[in-house]
């Protein structure tokens, strides 16, 4: 801290003129860009969140229409409304879109809107990253869903089991569109998860210790962490999958030593947590609105937090229950059946927390509460059938039948869609300042509720009566025509309910303004200003309670009069407070990104890489890759780790905090760390692949021409060079921090040379021994590990060179060294990747 504070005079918040001046400055700073194009360069969470939500909602409606076409086809036996080919595209796209383009992005979209408000922050820590995520999502989503208009949609089911989908003679472009289009979206989902985690951990208001956080923030943290660990195994699977499709590397081809089951493992290690990823946010919404309508604190806050964390843990241990019929050893079935049943326990705890809260409180009937209790009822039925299918012998019958279709729709409609409508009716006044119609809402609810049950309840029976999933037709003799007709009628009813909700939304702009905080809620987000200001919150409050609006005296007034922290934008910069992870002490004022075309351009360039690869336009795809890199560097160079004009800033109440931090107290460091956790998880998916193949083969590595391993020499050279590059980077950080800029630069140069050399040495192993990846799965997986590590080394070199350039350009000094600190985190993970890769491919064959 400097001694500037001696001369500092705090503004007089009692003076209306002072407040007016502050408000004018805040308004000017947070003004949205205008113009037919530039309005889309906005990065403010209010706008990005709304675009994101509307886009995900649109994809949901589109996928719903696909389902209606399917139900129409299945209304009567032997129907020929659509062909088998179209039907396969319909169900594949319906499932894929609902999961990847609706359920997960919707959670992220809603969280982007709500999180800053829940935390009394002005925006998320990386607004431009939100913008990038949104544009990636939009482009990728349109690419994937639009494919059905060209009869080119993926048609292998949302689970895309190889070899049906990897054999290019059995599946066309659709499989590539699924893999590459959705991988692109997965990347943006992970980006959003990183931002949300950092937001929850670092951007809370002063005083909001972890145990005072609103429950929605807890769930965001839990779910985002789950995304971080669940999506990367799928991304690893996608990598192997596309290598097989495009390059003929036989990961899933049994004739060449591959195994289709590896994909199933990787897919369901993602796929099962995915169910909880889309369900927990709904519990989070309930945890916000149930206290409001019970008009009391939620009963059992620690219970529900522990239950959420427990669900998250357990959900990673159940994936095999999707594979009960693959012929796995019976003992593992028993284990996974037990784990699958166990996950019902934390879910039960969460549901009973709500029941107890309603019981203890004074329940105010309302439309959001109607949706919430209705969805709980639907979800409970889905949960109970879930316990049924967790019992392995029952699953052997129910698996891949309409029973499971019924089960999963009860879970997802009760656990995602209806809660979303509950949230819509609850939070609409927060976002738009208007209430939705209680009457239309109730009518829509009952139509949807009845329609939903009429659609899906009979499916339990059609399944038990022998109707398998993913059939475009069924014979009359099966005697399930009546049940299917009922399902079809129900689906149209459900659609009618959704249409009524849409009409209600469309009528909203004509309705009068609602009062502020119309439900009399107690949590921070309801501070939202009635006049819809973009600055988020007038002043950042000091939090002493879980329900500050209820419990803290004159809370709203004090916030509005700027009597808390950071009531001004003196330097005309977008700012928010960064606090410490556990106890929320203010540690920094962060300068946030402003509207910019860079995130959008980066998204377009990256989309080019994925989309052009789909069409095998490799050269253009490489050009796009270079463009992406250029955009990212431009974005980082001009917009991050900016050296502030003064070291510290007063935020009020005599507290003065730095404008720049580096290392573990800075959001950027956390973002790098968290991103690398996801990256390491994807890498461990590939390593899992290596050892998976080892366990299924007696001779691994096999012997023969083109199959001889990379030997020990080159991998060990590569390992030594990787470690040298790492040591040089860490050394550079240390000497640089102590003020020796010259030595720091010199060590960075050493690091660049060593890391670059490790890249070539790593590839030299498999290259020199002539490993042919098309021959057998062993060379293919060795090459994959080597290439993965080489690509990471290349990125490491770019980072070192970037940091060196920043230093030479005067944008990095021993005090302001965030760039160097952050790339060191990357190099820790690179060293770890190198150690695992080179020991696995170089040493493991010798000891195995």
């Amino acid at each position: 801290m400097t001694t500037e504070s001696a001369q500092y005079v705090a503004p007089d918040q009692n003076d209306p003129a002072v407040r007016k001046g502050q408000e004018d400055r805040l308004r000017e700073v947070w003004k949205a860009p205008t113009g037919w194009f530039f309005r889309w360069t906005d990065v403010n969470n209010n706008r990005i969140g709304v675009w994101y939500t509307l886009t995900a909602f649109g994809f949901m409606l589109f996928a719903g229409v696909l389902a209606l076409i399917m139900r129409t086809q299945l209304a009567v036996p032997n129907n020929d409304l659509v062909t088998a080919n179209t039907f396969n595209q319909l169900f594949t796209l319906h499932g894929s879109m609902m999961m990847f383009l609706f359920a997960v992005p919707m959670f992220e979209a809603v969280s982007i809107i709500l999180l800053p408000q829940l935390l009394g922050a002005r925006d998320l820590p990386f607004p431009r990253l939100s913008g990038f995520g949104y544009w990636s999502f939009l482009i990728g989503g349109v690419f994937v869903s639009g494919s059905i208009f060209f009869d080119a949609a993926p048609d292998g089911g949302w689970f895309m089991y190889p070899p049906l989908t990897t054999r290019t003679d059995l599946s066309g472009l659709g499989a590539d569109i699924w893999m590459l289009g959705l991988s692109f979206i997965e990347v943006s989902s992970v980006a959003a998860a990183v931002e949300l985690i950092v937001g929850v951990l670092k951007c809370r208001p002063p005083g909001m210790r972890l145990n005072l956080m609103p429950l929605y923030a807890w769930y965001i943290l839990v779910v985002a962490v789950m995304i971080l660990f669940a999506f990367p195994p799928l991304i690893a699977g996608d990598v192997l999958f596309e290598m097989e499709r495009l390059l003929n590397w036989p990961f899933f081809n049994a004739e060449k030593g591959g195994d289709p089951l590896l994909w199933q493992h990787l897919f369901w290690i993602f796929g099962h947590p995915e169910v909880y990823i889309v369900f927990l946010p709904s519990i989070a919404l309930f945890a916000m609105l149930i206290p409001t309508f019970a008009q009391r604190h939620l009963l059992g806050y620690p219970w529900i937090v522990l239950a959420a964390v427990g669900t998250a843990f357990l959900s990673f241990g159940l994936w095999v229950h999707h594979m009960f019929t693959t012929g796995l050893p019976k003992i593992s079935l028993a284990f996974f059946a037990a784990a699958s049943e166990a996950v019902a326990i934390p879910t039960g705890v969460q549901i009973f927390v709500f029941i107890a809260t309603l019981w203890a409180g004074n329940v105010k009937k309302s439309t959001p509460l109607l949706y919430a209790s209705g969805s709980l009822a639907v979800f409970v039925i889905g949960g109970l059938t879930g316990v049924m299918v967790a019992v392995a012998p029952f699953d052997w019958q129910a698996h891949d039948t309409y029973f499971v279709v019924a089960h999963l729709h009860y879970v997802l409609i009760g656990g995602t869609l209806l809660p979303l409508f509950a949230g819509l009716y609850y939070y609409w006044p927060l976002v738009t300042g208007k209430k939705l119609s209680d009457r239309l809402g109730r009518i829509a609810f009952w139509i949807m509720f009845v329609g939903m049950n009429l659609t899906f309840f009979p499916m339990h029976l059609s399944g038990l009566l022998g109707m398998p999933r993913r059939v475009f037709t069924y014979p009359e003799e099966l005697g399930i025509g009546g049940l299917n007709l009922a399902s079809t009628i129900g689906s149209y009813m459900f659609a009618l309910g959704v249409v009524i909700v849409c009409i209600d939304l469309a009528l909203s702009p004509r309705r009068p303004k609602a009062p502020r905080n119309p439900w009399n809620a107690g949590t921070l987000e309801w501070l939202a200003h009635p006049d819809d200001e973009d600055w988020g919150i007038r002043s950042v409050p000091l939090i002493e309670s879980r329900y500050p609006i209820w419990d803290q005296k004159n809370f709203v007034q004090k916030v509005d009069e700027g009597r808390f922290f950071l009531p001004d934008a003196e330097e005309m910069r977008r700012e928010s407070i960064v606090t410490s992870v556990l106890d929320a002490r203010p540690v920094q004022v962060i300068r946030l990104g402003t509207p910019s075309v860079k995130p959008m351009m980066t998204a377009v360039a990256l989309a080019g890489v994925f989309i052009l690869t789909t069409y095998h336009l490799y050269i253009w795809s490489a050009v796009s890759g270079v463009a992406t890199l250029a955009c990212v560097l431009w974005w980082l160079w001009t917009g991050t780790a900016e050296i502030p004009e003064k070291p510290t800033k007063h935020i009020g109440h005599g507290i003065e905090v730095p404008l720049y931090t580096s290392g573990p107290s800075a959001p950027g460091w956390w973002a790098m760390f968290i991103t690398m956790m996801a990256d390491a998880t994807a890498f461990s998916g590939l390593v899992f692949g290596y050892f998976f193949f080892w366990t299924i083969h007696n001779d691994f590595p096999p012997s023969g021409v083109g199959l001889n391993g990379p030997g020990v020499f080159w991998p060990m050279v590569a390992l030594a060079l990787t470690l040298a590059g790492w040591a040089a980077t860490v050394g550079a950080r240390e000497v640089h921090r102590r003020g020796n800029v010259g030595a720091g630069r010199a060590l960075l140069v050493v690091g660049i040379v060593a890391t670059l050399a490790s890249l070539f040495a790593g590839l030299a192993g498999p290259w020199s021994s002539g490993l042919d990846p098309e021959l057998h799965v062993y060379p293919a997986i060795v090459w994959t590990l080597a290439i993965w590590t080489a690509v990471h080394a290349a990125i490491g070199v770019i980072m070192q060179a970037y940091t060196l350039a920043r230093s030479l350009a005067g944008k990095m000094t021993p005090v302001y060294d965030a760039d160097l600190r952050n790339i060191t985190v990357y190099h820790h993970f690179l060293a770890l990747t190198g150690i695992v890769t080179f020991c696995t491919i170089g040493l493991f064959p010798g000891v195995a």
Partner: protein
């Protein structure tokens, strides 16, 4: 809230009443009408699970209704925590543990002896290759039809040469996947003679919905007689149908043992006429159906590997149909 509870009750009551009726309307491809010991065991588990689920759902709905109506403060904080602990935590744990122990024995596969009948079944896009390997006898290959001796333990060896399929005879046992590169085992014992149906349960491509097969459970003596018949080569006399069959190159893919060369690509047709259905359980075995199918198989089965023969005249198709129907 009342409406919801009432409605849910109504649904459950009507379902309870309907179950036996539904079971009655489809006896040949239903988990509710078992003809094998494995399926029977699962059905008793199913009944227990369904009753348990109905009780729990109903109880929870009543509790929820009560909670919404209770005046403020009726439940104290301490009482609420007890509720969460006992009903949310401990209660479900005990129930689930009991459920696990109850279902565990059913996870254990039946023992197989060396002299039990083994049948290899291969799922292929979009039909079934069936190989009987009786103890001490030679292998007999047929297609799209599985015959089982009642009361005998049979081990099914499930494989696939192309993509993942899943072998599912709802009345016999739970399903088991057929995965390229692996051999999965399913041990079954049929208990009731009759004609049933099995289907592919894992999505396997365009013709997935039309990949079924007949399952015929027979008394052991009848089964032995049938197997002996199947072992014999086809009895064929020269006919225009046989000539057309050869000239259109059908024998390049289909074996008719004793007549043409051994071909392994498509289904074995040696005793084709003795099977109850055509095109993998899709069409009844009639003359007209066979004649239509040999000319334009894709019309019945999208994605079928067999090529169409648009140049084949209706008369030739008729002759081939007669020939094939004669292969008893």
């Amino acid at each position: 809230m009342v409406g919801k509870v009432m409605m849910r009750k109504a649904i459950f009551l009507s379902v309870g009443a309907c179950l036996p009726l539904l079971a009655a309307c489809n006896q040949h491809q239903s988990t509710l009408a078992p003809f094998g010991e494995e399926a029977d065991k699962v059905l008793s588990i199913t009944i227990v699970l369904v009753i348990g689920a109905i009780i729990l759902a109903g109880g929870l709905a009543l509790l929820m209704r009560h909670a919404m109506r209770a005046p403020e403060g009726r439940l104290t904080h301490k009482g609420g925590m007890k509720l969460v602990l006992w009903l949310g935590g401990i209660g479900p744990s005990i129930l689930l543990l009991g459920l696990l122990l109850y279902a565990l024995p059913a996870m254990r596969p039946r023992e197989v002896a060396n002299n039990d009948l083994r049948i290899g079944v291969e799922g292929e896009q979009f039909w079934w290759r069936v190989r009987y390997a009786p103890p001490g006898g030679s292998v007999v290959e047929t297609a799209n039809e599985l015959r089982l001796p009642v009361g005998r333990t049979v081990e099914l060896l499930l494989r696939s040469p192309d993509v993942i399929h899943s072998f599912w005879v709802p009345g016999l046992a739970g399903k088991m996947d057929m995965i390229p590169g692996r051999t999965n085992r399913l041990v079954v014992r049929a208990t009731k003679a009759g004609t049933y149906r099995g289907v592919c349960a894992e999505f396997c491509g365009l013709g997935h919905a039309l990949m079924a097969f007949d399952v015929i459970a027979m008394e052991p003596a009848a089964f032995e007689r049938w197997l002996a018949e199947q072992r014999k080569p086809a009895i064929v006399t020269a006919s225009p149908g046989a000539r057309a069959f050869a000239s259109y190159g059908c024998s390049g893919c289909h074996s008719v043992r004793g007549v043409g060369p051994v071909a392994k690509i498509g289904p074995d047709l040696t005793h084709f006429g003795s099977r109850p259905t055509l095109a993998a359980g899709v069409l009844p075995m009639t003359h007209a159906n066979i004649a239509g199918f040999v000319r334009e198989p894709g019309k019945t089965k999208p994605g079928v590997r067999m090529p169409a023969f648009p140049q084949m005249s209706a008369a030739e198709a008729d002759q081939i149909a007669s020939y094939l129907q004669g292969l008893k």
